[in-house]
């Protein structure tokens, strides 16, 4: 197959443009990222610099791959990461526009690579259970209703790729934050830090410069793990609860 690729090239943090590349001899059975590998092999052979893009596991679980393909984060398929997209999904001769995830909170690094460490910083603010190694009780002393464990797992399936931010018209990170808040709020183990967690993660999220959720549901549609909007609703609920009921709001903020 043959394609016309329009790929975003950018050296440093500023400036960049779409550059056109023709590529042919592509089997429909190669993945989208393998097609970019082929392009890079050819570019390097010709003495040109390879297109920088992130990827690692290439089986849809590490969350390292990104890309906005023809205007859609992770390409046209639902519930799939870019690394799980195959060229048979395109028509011979298609023009394919490839851009990085764009958001103020994801500053560009090079070409299609962006810095998503803002997401780590949000988790560092409270996306954990504070327990030191060695102090855990016997696992079966805490029963977790099966349906809660299942719903917690639905939320915990997030791979932290940032597609929700990339897809959101407002570049909001509410689905990412909502998924972590929900995961831990649904488990009894997460209970003691419930209020403190949501307040601290919200504060960090805002300070990273993400936009505000307007319930467009684009995030849910773009999520490779099909994390549901209900996680955002739960985040809102948890936040309201914590704001109104947390007894010592100031203290819980400072210690967070």
């Amino acid at each position: 197959m043959r394609f016309r690729l329009r790929i975003w090239r950018q050296k440093g943090a500023e400036g960049g443009r779409l550059v056109d590349y023709e590529i042919d001899g592509i089997s429909p059975d190669v993945s989208f990222l393998e097609m970019l590998d082929v392009l890079n092999e050819r570019l390097v052979s010709r003495g040109q610099e390879a297109v920088a893009f992130d990827s690692d596991c290439r089986e849809g679980i590490c969350g390292m791959c990104s890309l906005v393909i023809n205007g859609q984060p992770h390409g046209p398929d639902r519930g799939m990461a870019t690394c799980q997209l195959y060229m048979r999904r395109f028509k011979d001769g298609d023009v394919i526009v490839v851009e990085p995830f764009r958001a103020r909170a994801f500053p560009p690094v090079k070409d299609l690579v962006v810095d998503r460490s803002a997401l780590d910083r949000i988790i560092a603010a409270g996306g954990f259970i504070s327990i030191n190694t060695g102090s855990a009780p016997e696992a079966n002393t805490v029963a977790v209703p099966k349906q809660n464990a299942e719903r917690a797992m639905d939320s915990a399936a997030c791979i932290g790729c940032g597609a929700c931010v990339a897809a959101c018209p407002n570049a909001a990170a509410m689905l990412f934050v909502g998924a972590k808040v929900s995961h831990l709020a649904l488990l009894p183990q997460g209970g003691p830090e419930r209020d403190r967690r949501v307040l601290a993660m919200r504060a960090q999220m805002d300070s990273e410069g993400f936009g505000n959720c307007t319930n467009e549901t684009e995030c849910e549609a773009a999520c490779p793990k099909e994390i549901k909007m209900s996680n955002i609703a739960r985040l809102n609920r948890e936040y309201m609860r914590a704001s109104l009921l947390a007894e010592d709001y100031t203290a819980s903020k400072e210690s967070a």
């Binding site: 779409l18 906005v68 205007g71 999220m205 410069g209 505000n212 307007t214 467009e216 849910e220 109104l244």
Partner: protein, 215 residues
């Protein structure tokens, strides 16, 4: 930082504020539509209703409250909108929905601004200006202008579009996500926006094409 100030400064808090104001305004819409429908009963009942309202000593208080709601809803929305713009300084060369957005959600700003301009004209026309012949005649005369009717109907269509997203979005912002309740809210939202649009838009159309002037 206290609860109230966090409500005004945090992303989620401000969204809750917008949603709360929006839903209260929905309540106002219902009351307003109820009053408007009295037009059909003719000059007497309608003017009696209007004068009753005007004479009520609590009216100024209600009007200030209403203005506050509008102001909060609009100002905070615009502020959020501005931040959302800033959250993506470099825009995509190509952006295509994966199936989440609706026409309502896409056009919130547009429909909102149209409604704002309508609001200014509407308040000027029917609230600020004096109506020597009574409000009934003022309304029925105004609806003789096809342009005005068109503007009015367009604004009501925008209102419907605005509500089709806003209604359910507000409930989501309040944290509603129950798998059975949420579809009901969505349907209710659509029905509500349709009813409001049709209800408000019918009156000018009726006045202009059916009643053909005051009677």
């Amino acid at each position: 930082m206290g609860v109230l100030s966090s409500l005004l400064t945090s992303s989620i808090g401000r969204k809750i504020l917008v949603a709360l104001a929006g839903l209260l305004l929905c309540g106002f819409l219902i009351a307003h539509l109820g009053g408007n429908l009295l037009l059909i009963y003719g000059e007497g009942p309608f003017n009696r209703y209007a004068q009753g309202l005007e004479k009520n000593p609590l009216l100024p208080l209600a009007e200030v409250g209403l203005a506050g709601l509008f102001l909060a809803h609009i100002a905070v929305s615009l502020k959020l909108r501005h931040e959302n713009r800033q959250a993506r300084p470099a825009s995509y060369a190509m952006q295509r929905s994966k199936g989440g957005r609706s026409w309502g959600s896409r056009t919130m700003l547009l429909s909102g601004l149209l409604l704002l301009s309508f609001l200014v004209v509407h308040v000027w026309h029917f609230r600020v200006q004096e109506h020597a012949d009574g409000l009934y005649r003022a309304v029925m005369n105004a609806f003789q202008s096809k342009y005005y009717v068109l503007f009015y109907v367009a604004a009501m269509a925008a209102l419907g579009l605005h509500l089709s997203h806003g209604f359910q979005s507000a409930f989501r912002t309040f944290g509603l996500s129950h798998p059975r309740l949420l579809p009901m809210i969505r349907k209710t939202g659509f029905a509500f926006s349709a009813a409001i649009t049709v209800g408000f838009a019918l009156l000018p159309l009726w006045a202009c094409f059916w009643a053909k002037g005051p009677r």
